[in-house]
Amino acid sequence: MDKKELYERYQRQVILPGFGEEGQQKLLKAKILVIGAGGLGCPVLQYLAAAGVGTIGIVDDDVVTLNNLHRQVLYSVNDIGFSKTERATHSLRQLNPGIKIIPYNERLTVQNALILLDEFDIIIDGTDNFSTRYMINDACVLMNKPLVYGAISQFEGQVSVFNSRQNDNDETVNYRDLFPNPPKEDEVLNCADSGVLGVLPGIIGTMMANETIKLITGIGETLANRLLTYNALNNQVYKLALSARTGTRLLIPENEAAFLQMDYEWLCSSERTAPIAIGSEIDAGIFNDLIAKERVDVIDVREPGEMPVVNDFSNIKIPLAELSANTSLMKSDTIVAFCQSGKRSLQAVKILSGIFGGDKKIYSLRGGIIEWKKQKQTV
């Protein structure tokens, strides 16, 4: 695009105090990834493309349906049955041929998430389900990427900016500081089940686009460390301060390997069993009962080579330090950790409870394998 056209296209925002050509250059250099090209994604994409964000990635594997059109205003009846990313890309290129639009007609998964996110500066969550939301949050924390968050239900919306600081000394917060663990499928209704006012994602998505522009250009104040709530029925807006929660980091995979082993769909599925006890110690008698009656993953958290070798019952050998990276090996709803004396296994319970929350029953064998062997001899 030549300079004259560039100037003319963005003239009305370039003349704004504090914005200027510098602000426009920042937008043109920015790379943002919009995940979900639905109700929230449409206005985000339209306004950011119009504002001249230089590179915009779009992730969605869905096709346009008739009941999308009351809120997903990028699409028309001619688009029904076609890929959202493809149709959005087509419209946005017509809107602004001077920027780069990259469609990813695929679902975000733990396998592709880190690779995709790595290409972009700012991530925008316009998805419609908890499993993807938690996955995006965790990936952004791992990769230290600012995340513009928006979510809606019926007549209300929430907006925030995660992993970003207002001031240099601020702590950063993320979605899990607000809601540490995902609700199960049946605990919260989605748009399909509970309905949504068509204009609501328009309002919330436009706010998300605004936050993104402020993040890129540095003008104004973002919603970093704040949650904004909006009610379309009474126009009430609340801005709530967020702070980091101790223990949040334990819920998030600590590295790429641990992230790849996460099963976010399972975390949100309604089949999860209710928590019965978390973090309790059990003695040898209860332990023996448990392994006889239930499917239990027994984990030896000692270092390789520690004696005695245990082959009295089946167990998985994962040293304490490697636990969080190997959660995929733990398939049963009940886990019992043991070590030599019962101290490290208590730590293991803490670590695993942090990861699984109330999703599994997690126990430590009191007194460790030494006590267990002693009991066995006396029986």
Partner: protein, 76 residues
């Protein structure tokens, strides 16, 4: 003086959009009381804000404290 509670999202279907409760010392006792009054709240997920700050642990409530109950939204 009562504690005022604002209820967001579909939690309002359970307990109404707002309510006021007397003699509540802190957020833990508030939660306990709410779960007695509205048992369906006990199985719902929500964050608690006191005077426009989302709180992560038990927080003392004073006269005129405003408490908000915020459920997670998944829609997009």
């Amino acid at each position: 003086m009562p504690i005022n509670i604002i209820i967001f999202g579909q939690l309002a279907d359970i307990a109404g959009g707002s309510l006021a409760l007397e003699n509540i010392a802190d957020t833990n006792s508030l939660v306990k009381e709410l779960h007695i009054l509205y048992p369906a709240l006990a199985t719902a997920k929500y964050a608690i804000a006191v005077d426009k700050k989302v709180v992560n642990e038990n927080t003392r409530l004073t006269e005129n404290s405003i408490v908000a109950l915020l459920p997670p939204f998944s829609g997009g």
